[in-house]
Amino acid sequence: MSEITRTKMEMAKSPEGVEGPGFFLTSMEKAVGLARKNSIWPLPFATSCCGIEFMATMASHYDLGRFGSERLSFSPRQADLLMVMGTISKKMGPVLKQVYEQMAEPRWVLSVGACASSGGIFDTYSVLQGIDRIIPVDVYVPGCPPRPEQIIEGLMKIQDLVGNESFRRRNSPDYQELMTKYGIE
């Protein structure tokens, strides 16, 4: 066994801004982004094997609560992030779309696992070949099932997206076009 080397710890960087005694001036977007990204409330849409790896991620060893996602919301109305974990079959597609539509903006989608991203090993008549056929996806986490570390990395990429998102994005014409492409108002 080699010597255990101390990991170089980095302090989380604050957003760019002007600092002074007792005040910190930065843009509103960055401040709100910082708050949002460290308190994402996920909706675990766990259907199959990836759901068990998610349970392992939520448990004490790989604790997802460290990233602010301690409070899982099973109601879409109170959730920020839809984590689709597991195979989505064609029977389940409309249910998934309905859950996505019930979420309030701003909302993000994390597709965990090969089955949710592209149908996985199940190239069959009954499996939806990727959830991006019915809802827009922000981050894809490949794997079958992905290790908890990979799921956490997916969440960290979502955190990057959340932290850097502009306020106008959800009202911009690009975004509206994306929604109409999927048939979502």
Binding site: K90, K91, G119, D123, T124, Y125, S126, V127, Q129
Partner: protein, 175 residues
Amino acid sequence: MAVHSDEHTKALHDQVLYLLKEKFATGITSSSCDYDFPVFVVEKEVAHDVLKYLKEEPSLNYHFLTTMCALHYPENAGNEFAMMYQLHNMPENKRIRIKTFIPEQKLEIPTITDLWAAANWMERQEYDFFGVHFIGHPNLIRILNMEDITFFPLRKDYALEDPTRDDKNDSMFGR
């Protein structure tokens, strides 16, 4: 790997064959011993009664329905579909397999939900996959697939892949 030796299986097979032949003389088409199961092929009309007899006869007592499934042999003209039932006698640890053949023209067979409640969903699954109609089933609708599809997916003439998929490049996958 089999617990029962071949002689044991043969003895079971002979015992059951004798009793079945006594009760259903012409209904028993053939019989054999497959790997550690006595297998009896019966006519479609007597299948339900054979299973009832196997369940209720005290010396046989095959009280537990382990599983059932359908098979599709498209080359077998006149006997394209087959139903397989597996029964188990737990106190004496005896297992048995019953097979019956069904023509495609008249794809129906009496249900066995009156004998075993477990057969309810198993028959719905075989209806869903193959289209076998079970006469007398309380609720014969599709169970695993979506209810409005019109094809029977597990038949040999139906393809495995999603027919609406357009992003696969067949030339690269050697299909």
